[in-house]
């Protein structure tokens, strides 16, 4: 089985090829009048070369494992809450979605009881509104 670094190198090479395929939509122009495609082609090619370098220097056996992290239930819960937050923000607005995000995240992270996550959510939303909207005049969605 390929090592993690080799899989990473293959993934980066695939990403570079996909990016280069997408970059074909933009004309490279001529050397005297370079177009919007020149830099993306150069950058995509550079990523492919670096991926090849990474593949060449990584051993086929599993190498060092710097910081393996599991996609545990709390992590997946917070990740799902974030995706839901971004999706619902334009529909439900800042206050409702932020309240839910804070409460769900706090609950997933182990804040005990049901009222503490809810109280934290309410407090954060009120503080954020007061600080950003009323005091600093920063618009929120």
């Amino acid at each position: 089985m390929a090592s993690r670094d080799r899989r990473l190198a293959l993934g980066l090479a695939a990403l570079a090829l996909l990016y280069l395929a997408a970059a074909r939509r933009y004309p490279p122009g001529t050397p005297a009048e370079p177009g919007p495609g020149v830099f993306p082609i150069a950058a995509g090619a550079a990523l492919f070369l670096v991926a090849a370098w990474l593949f060449a220097v990584s051993s086929s056996a599993g190498a060092a494992r710097p910081d393996e992290r599991r996609w545990s239930a709390p992590v997946l819960g917070v990740a799902a809450a974030l995706v839901g937050y971004a999706a619902l923000l334009p529909l439900a607005g800042f206050a409702a979605t932020s309240f839910a995000l804070v409460a769900v995240t706090a609950w997933h992270m182990g804040l005990p009881g049901w009222w503490r996550p809810l109280a934290l959510g309410a407090g954060v939303v009120m503080a954020a509104r007061g600080l950003f909207v009323w005091w600093l005049g920063v618009p929120l969605p």
């Binding site: 009048e33 020149v38 995509g44 370098w53 494992r65 709390p74 932020s98 992270m109 954020a128 969605p141």
Partner: protein
């Protein structure tokens, strides 16, 4: 020269105090950054008159520069690009209960660098400004490329991995309008992506959201730091001794880099960290929570802020978003910066320079007593703190451009940042690529156009040729080293 003391009048001192306090407060909030903080007070300064108004605006600039590092150290959320490097060691120090020491060293480094750069600004402003104009597109291209190649290996990890992150940052920088022709690229018809990927959204995601996910993976872990005693809030004598050399190196580097147009404060902080990795006596500890990793970059980005004032005040050229807002403030007051600023408005010129001295002292006096208060943030259990960080990140991502698409960018960057940690990839080089990508592309296309397609234009001048030669050496040396070792081994009997 006597106009220098105009900054010491009670009204101007008050304007300076209000500016530095407001700047620090807004800078502490992730996302707004110095330019955003300065834009917030633009309507207010008109009422104060030219000297007091510009003194207040300059105070906001310095305050926000300092405040930006606070969230980097405490919760690993850099408020702006120049604070990204500070997060590497600053946050690790905070997790070890040394948040107070890191914040105090950041304050002292900012003070030293700010003061030295103001002295240099006062002495050399008009002469040094002309040097900045000697840089053309070819020199910028070589400079940006050299920066990317030399500074990519910040985390000290695998070279191809860090280079891959830099190039990935370059790829991300191509999303949106191209810098010369305005062609919209890689947006896949998403309206919100036309302006490009927001740097704030990417950074808050890669650092802040990823940190929240990391905390969620170990929800039962204790707080980042336990409550510390008062005397432990400040750096020990040993820590201060260690911080002095990187502080001085960072100041010198930052001031010189600040003269170069572009994102100089960011480049200065990365260069300073890169230099410390090579010359510091404690370089092995960098990346693990070394005080040098806070002192050097913090001094460098503040000195660069001072250096960046030279082209603004002497030539009327703003090279950063923050100095562009300062220029807007000057124009609002009918003050035109440039070679005639000193002749036409000596009180404004010297008053603003004088306010830099006063502002640096105020920042130190304002921030050192607050170190204890800020350091307590690191002792809050993550189950309370991290949900708050998440909302701050979302507000920062949205408020940068009032664009809901940026919230999606933040979420995607957060998930990617968390996955990158598992793969042993550092996000800092990616940020460097994202920041320098537009400069690199613009200067490449401009140089090619000027040379009418002749690529030799890229190394036609001596500075550009030297920098490109350094790029070649930096890239080829790691490849050539194993070959040389093999040749040596083969020759040995």
């Amino acid at each position: 020269m006597s106009d220098l003391f105009v900054a010491l009048t009670p009204a101007n001192l008050l304007a300076c105090l209000a500016g530095t306090a407001l700047g620090t407060l807004v800078g502490v909030l992730p996302g707004l950054g110095p330019a955003g903080a300065m834009a917030l007070v633009l309507p207010l300064i008109v009422k104060l008159g030219p000297t007091a108004g510009l003194i207040m605006l300059a105070g906001v600039y310095y305050g926000a520069m300092y405040g930006g590092s606070t969230t980097s150290i405490l919760v690993n959320v850099p408020g702006e690009a120049a604070s990204v490097v500070t997060a590497i060691d600053g946050y690790r120090l905070a997790r070890r209960g040394r948040a107070g020491a890191a914040l105090a060293v950041a304050a002292v480094a900012s003070f030293v660098a700010g003061t030295v750069s103001v002295i240099a600004l006062q002495l050399f402003a008009p002469r040094v400004a002309r040097l900045a104009l000697a840089f053309g597109p070819a020199e910028y291209f070589a400079f940006a490329l050299l920066g990317l190649v030399l500074l990519s290996n910040l985390s000290g990890g695998s070279r191809p991995k860090t280079l891959a992150m830099v190039v990935l940052g370059l790829l991300l920088s191509t999303v949106g309008m191209d810098p010369l022709g305005g062609t919209v690229r890689f947006t896949f018809d998403v309206q919100g992506a036309q302006a490009g990927l927001s740097f704030v959204a990417v950074t808050t995601g890669l650092f802040g959201v990823a940190e929240v996910l990391a905390a969620a993976s170990a929800p039962d872990a204790p707080a980042a730091a336990t409550r510390v005693r008062f005397r432990e809030l400040y750096p020990s004598r040993h820590e201060m001794r260690r911080a002095v050399p990187p502080m001085l190196r960072g100041t010198a580097l930052g001031f010189l880099i600040g003269l170069v147009p572009g994102p100089s404060a960011t480049i200065a902080s990365f260069v300073s960290y890169g230099v410390e990795r090579r010359v510091s006596r404690h370089r092995a500890e960098l990346g693990q929570g070394a005080i040098e990793g806070v002192a050097g970059p913090e001094a460098a980005n503040n000195a660069a802020a001072g250096g960046g004032m030279i082209p603004l005040l002497s030539l009327g050229l703003p090279f950063t978003p923050s100095t562009a807002v300062l220029l807007s403030g000057m124009l609002l007051m009918s003050v035109t910066p440039g070679p005639f600023l000193l002749r036409d408005h000596p009180q404004v010129f010297w008053g603003v320079i004088g306010s830099f001295y006063v502002g640096n002292v105020m920042l130190l006096l304002l921030n050192l007593p607050l170190v204890g208060l800020f350091a307590r943030v690191a002792t809050v259990p993550s189950r309370w703190l991290m949900p708050v960080v998440l909302v701050l990140c979302a507000v920062a991502a949205y408020a940068d451009n009032n664009n809901l698409f940026d919230v999606w960018v933040m979420v995607a960057a957060g998930l990617a940042g968390y996955a990158m940690r598992g793969l042993g990839l550092s996000p800092a080089p990616l940020v460097l690529g994202l920041v320098l990508g537009p400069l690199l592309e613009r200067s490449l296309l401009q140089a090619l156009t000027i040379g009418r397609g002749d690529v030799r234009e890229l190394w036609a001048s001596a500075p550009a040729a030297l920098m490109l030669a350094a790029v070649a050496v930096a890239l080829l040396a790691p490849l050539a080293a194993p070959l040389l070792r093999r040749v040596r081994t083969a020759r040995e009997p």
